[in-house]
């Protein structure tokens, strides 16, 4: 393991652990309000302070980590699986199928992802489930193009010719032989994708279209801090810092993996 | 015979992280003036590294750690990089296996030969161009003026190798080191290039160190054959006796394999 990868894994491991152990680590419920302690600065009782409703920021952020990381992982999972299927079909079969899939990909890429998201969220209820699916459905194009490129070069290799000569089915060639060999770059891309998805969710929440209160996500903690920014800096700083560190962490992992795999 | 090159106890290490790998240990070789010595051996036996070590154009992680290389009376291992540069390409030249990858694709063949000339000789462009044409003629290229203005990708492998030989001979070296120069070529072309090298050797009077795994070539061009095995020269003998009376077990193994599939 190289240094970059280790730093990344430590950062993400830290946040994942907190997310998993949130109920045990937090001393308050995330939605417990305390009218007597509103907008408290960080203190021994409330390590990261409280918000305008007297809720403990640290606890909210711990639970928020669960939401934000889950959204990142699942959304990227959906995008990567879609990308794998479409990209490998396009790359393997070529010709008409390739043109069809890739032109569709190009069309999807023409729309700025964020506005596509906004449009979709405007029509649907913004539940966590919907947000994950919608982010997934609007960000598979990158992985698809990447995988197609990998498959295109891999399928000319002799071991794929050898599989064909052996009578292996198309499904077998794609699933057992092509995809495992194309997975390295896809993994790197997915890691970057998680960071992007978390950022997207934060952006949506900031516009009030993301995860709906009182459920906390890093993005909507941040938006609630907007009106009190002048008097309670801690509500803005800590979730912002968490988002920044997580994205940095995933980028480090991606960079480290890239070095390990040998670049692409 | 008066020796042009005298190598004794050459030892080369590779440094891979914390690992030290000895690639060559126990390399003794003499080359007389005007002599053709073939360095034979299987892949990985250390032939190429030893040849590169003569003018120290080794990969970054390799180093000569012991031995002496006496060329024309001076120990090359005692020279600094500036003094070595004056010898590289002037007194000692190389020809490599893949001419098309050792020629720079963005310059014409003529430009590259002119560069080789002007690196070591104080000549004007016109003089260098005139000499380029002569050199191309010397390597039996039918249409020197056209070839001089061609790019490597416009020519066949055989033509590129001829051009590369012309470039190597630009400064009338005393020693030409040819590392598998015909391996990438078809047999009929190979035969022509070998003939060309022998003719040039006679007219220009250089010594030739020819590296190959192909004993047919050794039989055809060598005065003496040195057999390399696991980083060592295990046997050196005149070409007549090495085929009829091999001493070392590896030489015997090689000759018997050659008798089966190297000869018709």
């Amino acid at each position: 393991m190289n240094k970059t990868l280790i730093i990344g894994v430590v950062i993400i491991g830290f946040f994942t652990l907190i997310a998993l152990l949130a109920p045990f680590l937090s001393s308050y419920k995330p939605s417990d309000m305390d009218q007597t302690h509103m907008l408290m600065a960080p203190s021994a009782k409330h390590l990261l302070g409280t918000d305008s409703l007297g809720r403990d920021i640290l606890s909210r952020m711990m639970y928020g980590a669960r939401i934000s990381l889950t959204i990142g992982l699942i959304a990227v999972g959906i995008a990567t699986i879609l990308g794998l299927i479409l990209g490998s079909l396009a790359g393997f079969y070529g010709g008409f199928i390739d043109s069809l899939i890739m032109r569709f990909t190009d069309i999807m890429l023409c729309f700025p992802t964020f506005f596509l998201l906004l449009a979709a969220v405007a029509f649907l209820e913004s539940s966590i489930f919907n947000i994950m699916v919608i982010i997934g459905l609007t960000s598979w194009m990158g992985p698809a193009r990447l995988i197609r490129g990998e498959i295109l070069s891999l399928k000319e290799r002799e071991f794929i010719q050898a599989e064909r000569a052996l009578g292996a089915s198309h499904f077998r060639i794609i699933a057992v032989h092509l995809i495992p060999n194309a997975l390295g770059p896809v993994l790197v891309n997915a890691t970057l994708g998680i960071a992007a998805a978390i950022l997207l969710e934060s952006g949506l929440s900031f516009l009030g279209l993301g995860v709906q209160p009182p459920v906390p996500s890093w993005g909507n903690i941040l938006i609630e801090s907007k009106s009190t920014l002048g008097i309670a800096w801690w509500i803005t700083l800590y979730p912002g810092l968490a988002i920044l560190l997580t994205i940095l962490g995933f980028n480090f992992i991606a960079e480290g993996l890239k070095q390990k795999i040998g670049g692409f | 015979m008066d020796d042009l090159l005298k190598i004794r106890g050459l030892k080369i290490n590779f440094y891979l992280g914390t690992q030290v790998i000895t690639a060559v240990d126990g390399f003794d070789l003499d080359i007389g003036r005007g002599e053709v010595v073939v360095l034979a051996g299987e892949s990985g036996s250390g032939k190429t590294v030893s040849a590169l070590a003569i003018t120290r154009i080794l990969p970054r992680n390799a180093r000569v750690v012991d031995g002496s290389i006496i060329f024309d009376g001076q120990d090359l291992l005692g020279l600094d990089i500036r003094q070595l540069r004056a010898i590289r390409g002037k007194d000692i030249s190389y020809v490599f296996q893949e001419p098309s990858s050792y020629l720079n694709p963005v310059y014409t063949v003529g430009d590259q030969i002119m560069e080789a000339i002007r690196l070591h000789q104080n000549k004007t462009k016109q003089e260098a161009y005139a000499q380029t044409l002569k050199l191309l003629e010397a390597v039996k290229i039918a249409d020197p003026a056209r070839v001089a203005f061609s790019y490597p990708h416009q020519m066949s492998g055989g033509m590129n190798q001829r051009a590369f030989i012309a470039m190597s001979l630009a400064s009338r070296p005393q020693l030409l080191i040819a590392d598998e120069p015909t391996t990438a070529l078809d047999v009929t072309i190979e035969s022509e290039i070998l003939q060309l090298l022998l003719t040039l050797k006679d007219t220009l009077g250089f010594s030739l160190l020819f590296i190959t795994h192909n004993l047919t070539i050794a039989r055809r061009i060598a005065d003496r054959v040195a057999v390399m095995y696991q980083g060592k020269i295990v046997e050196t003998a005149p070409v007549e006796s090495i085929f009829t009376d091999p001493k070392h077990f590896h030489t015997k193994e090689l000759i018997s394999a050659y008798e089966q599939i190297g000869r018709i």
Binding site: F159, Q161, A165, G167 | V187, A257, I264
Partner: protein, 252 residues
């Protein structure tokens, strides 16, 4: 002896695209009217320099690519399932094994695909195959990267043999290997042919290899057959100028 394979008037053209609009810029005739037959238990050599269309021909025989014109006819009695009964060994063993697949899985795969033997017996069969090509059983858990070129080529041979083929197409099977390894593999090919009653189509630029294995030789030049004679005849009385030139270059 019966014909196992008939190559009939095979032509293959490759379109060359070029220019900004990818217009068709020209046609390369890779193969022109190639015809020959292979008898069961025989070995036929295909000789020629690079660019003579040998590998294209191999791929057409295996139906990995389609010919522009002409036919590949297999004896239906002998070759029931092309993908099982006809196998190919490629030139570059560094490239012809899936780097992410253990040797055991690579050799077991054809047994699974063609359901050649019951699943329970696969392990035993893989061991037999490894032994047959001169590899040790304990090597089966390793990945291709841990093997030398010669060993990888043996793995490829074991894979091909797992199909219990009748016809084996060898596309320059030795040319990327060291001389001593070449000679060992050549002996292996000769022994396997006897033991398993195989038929070989051997593609090689090395006439010495061809001379060792084959009964007859097809000499190709720029996609055309210039000579097709028994091996002894080719080496003692080459008729065509090109064959003579090849022999002379190899003998010098």
């Amino acid at each position: 002896m019966e014909n196992i394979l008939e190559v009939k008037n095979i032509c293959k053209d490759f379109k060359v695209e070029g220019g900004a609009l990818m217009r068709e810029a020209g046609v390369v005739h890779a193969l022109t009217n190639v015809s020959f037959t292979v008898k069961e238990f025989d070995s036929v050599g295909i000789a020629g320099e690079s660019g003579s269309g040998k590998t294209t021909l191999a791929k057409i025989i295996l139906k990995l690519i389609l010919p522009t014109r002409g036919e590949i006819i297999f004896n239906e009695q002998l070759i029931r399932n092309l993908r099982k009964d006809v196998q190919i060994i490629f030139q570059n063993p560094y490239n012809s094994l899936n780097p992410k697949m253990r040797v055991y899985d690579a050799i077991a795969e054809p047994l699974v695909i063609h359901a050649i033997i019951p699943r329970k017996k696969i392990k035993e069969r893989v061991c037999d195959l490894l032994q047959m090509v001169g590899l040790q059983q304990k090597m089966s858990a390793r990945f291709p990267a841990e093997f030398s070129g010669g060993q990888r080529q043996r793995i490829c041979i074991a894979r091909a043999l797992a199909c219990e083929p009748r016809l084996l197409v060898l596309d320059e099977p030795l040319s990327s290997l060291d001389l001593i390894i070449q000679s060992q593999l050549l002996d292996l090919f000769l022994a396997l042919k006897e033991k398993l009653k195989l038929t070989y189509v051997l593609i090689s630029h090395n006439l010495a290899v061809i001379k060792n294995i084959t009964h007859s030789v097809v000499v190709m030049q720029q996609g055309e057959i210039v000579e097709n004679e028994p091996t002894t005849e080719i080496f003692s009385h080459p008729r065509h100028l090109y064959t003579q030139k090849l022999l002379a270059a190899a003998r010098e």
